[in-house]
């Protein structure tokens, strides 16, 4: 496989992840319309499938042994049904581990909203693997409850139908799961004195930083990549939000590309309102089945732009690709032809969006003002709540994350509380607007790059990586080395 096709493949995989993250965690615009079900991203899906039988992937997975832990369904209550257990999957690689006798470290990858699959680029042969080599660490990767093979009572469709069961799908339960699994692993390996560093990206990065804050007795430190822990309640001003960053990314790439996108929305509406307008749009954008309304197309394009900005990998560079297509105009000079060329430049096929989660991860992502290239679409908690009630019969809890995990006045609060967390970010990533971008204390550190994208530091290091990315990773290693140095000194002292 050429390096370019691997990059392409990798990026495509992130798009899939993004679509999941976008929808399960943060999609906050109106979604009471069919979510682009007409589009089927066959090509990307097939590429994705191929990895499973890719010889290299299999050899990677060979380093890992798969285990299952009988996980408690409900950690926080004591009802008879709370005691039910489900099999939670985790995998371990002993390959680089220095062993329990040496108190060699444990690196724990905290799964996000995705199955723990062998092809997931954030896990295997990624920076996580390099960290294990650096520190002679055991690698433990744990699957998030309700994903992959870790679904209570069988299939996810079963779980989705059962409102009572679905109710155990929460971040507090998820990190309590990780606590139990890590204690179990440490105990079974007699590795009680091995310091644990938890690692995660995006939603998984939030879990990693929250895990360090809530379970400091289990995780000694955290590397939280692109974790928008401040993107809740009213912490991020609306005009510094997700869509403002996406717009900035495109405008910095190309002013004319930005302008074309900005005017495309009204053009789509105009054509769509004409006679046969929807079938014209269906044809021009090559949809698999006819569009029912213009929102289906606009939402799809919205996802293309936001995904490109979020995963603006410096090698594959999707924003550059999309704008190249738009500015190149190989399908015609008019606005819609340019927009279509942008989509084609990125990939020929598309994805449908799964349903959103309706409970605690309420990021108020909206477009309230005119400085973005998107049509206005303020976040509306009322309609968000209505959709949740209709779909799941429960309302969201928009303030629970800040109640349980905090976020407001984080500088004041954490300056004298907590330690050993790296908040890494790339400012091209629109979620960086909700990330921690300032050092809070001497050990709660913000390491960001101007040109980085979502979770970029966690990717597998590549010889073509720009200097700033290499340097970001080096900084992270240096910081973690410093934590370990203190830990082992103190451990030594406590033995005397």
């Amino acid at each position: 496989m050429s390096s370019n096709s691997k990059n392409n493949l990798q990026w495509s995989f992130y798009l899939v992840l993004l679509l999941m993250f976008y929808s399960t965690c943060v999609y906050a615009r109106e979604f009471n319309i069919p979510r682009l079900g007409a589009f089927q991203g066959k090509k990307v899906f097939q590429q994705h499938k191929n990895v499973e039988v890719d010889a290299e992937s299999i050899s990677i997975s060979d380093d890992f042994q798969t285990f299952f832990y009988p996980q408690t369904l409900d950690h926080f209550n004591y009802q008879p049904q709370s005691y039910a257990t489900f099999q939670q999957k985790f995998v371990i690689s002993f390959k680089y581990w220095g062993g329990a006798n040496a108190s060699a470290p444990i690196l724990a990858y905290l799964g996000e909203e995705a199955p723990l699959a062998y092809e997931t680029p954030l896990y295997y042969k990624s920076f996580f693997n390099d960290l294990a080599i650096q520190f002679n660490a055991l690698q433990v990767l744990i699957e998030h409850r309700f994903y992959g093979d870790s679904i209570p009572y069988g299939s996810s469709s079963e779980a989705a139908k059962n409102a009572s069961l679905r109710g155990y799908f929460s971040s507090a339960q998820a990190i309590a799961d990780y606590a139990e699994v890590l204690q179990h692993v440490k105990k079974n390996l007699s590795a009680e004195t091995s310091p644990v560093i938890v690692v995660g990206g995006s939603y998984g990065g939030m879990l990693a930083s929250w895990f360090r804050l809530k379970y400091p007795h289990i995780a000694f430190g955290a590397l939280a990549s692109s974790a928008p822990i401040l993107y809740f309640d009213d912490i991020v001003p609306e005009n510094k939000g997700y869509y403002s960053v996406v717009t900035k990314d495109f405008r910095e790439e190309s002013e004319s590309c930005y302008e074309t996108i900005r005017k495309s929305w009204s053009e789509i509406d105009k054509v769509g309102s004409e006679q046969n307008g929807l079938s014209i749009l269906s044809q021009r954008f090559n949809s698999c089945s006819p569009l029912n309304n213009t929102s289906e197309l606009k939402d799809f394009l919205d996802t293309i732009y936001t995904a490109s900005a979020q995963y603006d990998d410096p090698i594959f560079n999707p924003v550059n690709l999309v704008c190249g297509g738009i500015n190149g105009a190989s399908y015609g000079n008019d606005t819609l032809s340019r927009i279509y060329a942008g989509v084609v430049a990125l990939f020929g096929s598309q994805y449908c969006l799964p349903l959103p989660r309706c409970t605690e991860m309420v990021m108020p992502i909206g477009i309230d003002i005119n400085d973005t290239m998107f049509p206005p679409h303020p976040f509306n908690l009322t309609s968000f709540t209505e959709v949740c009630m209709r779909r799941y019969g429960v309302p969201p809890r928009p303030h629970w994350v800040t109640t349980y995990f905090g976020g407001h006045d984080i500088m004041l609060i954490l300056e004298r509380f907590g330690s050993n967390i790296i908040f890494s970010n790339g400012l091209k990533d629109p979620y960086s607007c909700g990330g921690v971008l300032e050092n809070i204390s001497a050990t709660l550190l913000a390491i960001y790059t101007e040109k980085g994208s979502h979770c970029l530091d966690l990717h597998k290091p590549d010889s073509k990586d720009p200097e700033w990315l290499v340097s970001q990773r080096k900084k992270e290693i240096r910081i973690i080395r410093g934590w370990f140095a203190k830990y082992y000194a103190q451990l030594q002292e406590s033995k005397h």
Copy 2:
């Protein structure tokens, strides 16, 4: 009311609390026998009752306004029933408050396993009140879920019958309740910049320290009095446990008293096994109805000794009283007459023990060795579990507290994590064996007294208090003042 009778009354009240705490939280010996239901502590109960109509108490309560907050039944799950609410009681006194504009502090008393009643000596006109005067603080006192007026769906008997409802009775839910109430209070009073210090004693002290660790964004600091947060799992060695401290307290008071108690157990068994032995014991110990077995008497005496040690107030001094009775022998020179004289010296009536809680608060209190004055009775998790299953249909979770809140290696873990907690203890208190007795860091501080008892520092300061107690309270005030000084300096800075 004379100061002496007040002290007597106060102490009696602690005994009631102890009996509750003892049974709901920590009673870990076999309890599949009737828990002294024959004894009715009428005298103590009546004294206790009298306080409710005591003029002074009413005037104290006049400073407080009562409120109810619609509390979330289940903070951690998203089942339809999780959203049910119950009315949680809290009371506020504005009397000493400097106000929101001055960012004047909020002192929050986190209720323990007891109703928030006006006569509770830990709350009103206690050291908590003095702290409010010291710091011009708002006083907020919050009742624990499932106690007093804060019982989901009405009465406690209703709640006890319903296994599903009873399952929401957990410490994680309780501190999440406090988080919501405190956020609600701060918001409603526009007191967002007022620092909150949480205060609690015994189980409430554990909640206070855990609250600071889990909710640092809501509580800026904690005063945790007599909080045995380390009395879980295997953290405290069995020969340094609760009963060893009780024994030490009695032995230090009087070697002969200790000897009499030590040999009394076999004497009780001997008499009990004789013909008419049980009725002889019933008569000699003046039980309200006939004893069914000697365990009923032995368990009662066990409670008398442990309560006396735990609440060994330096003014009332129950260990001294009991030993005075035992050594004085006004009812006869033999062992049993001496023991009875000890009980009479303390009070003429007795209490029955309510049922134990069977979930997370599993303190492995047992008597494994011969260096105590009690008969051997090792802690047995298996039989503890059996009783829980029989009584409530659910097993305990003996490792959950250390999983969720930590405890093992606390010095290593918290030295570089967390801040602003005072762990106060008195070493006469048998629970001090599970308390934090060493400074962990510059702001996680252990303030203990050699002669202090359970929660003694939180009591209302009295002109007869010994110097060491006065000095302990002064230290606590000085430390909290230091926290505030830093907070206000930083707040000021953040405004510029």
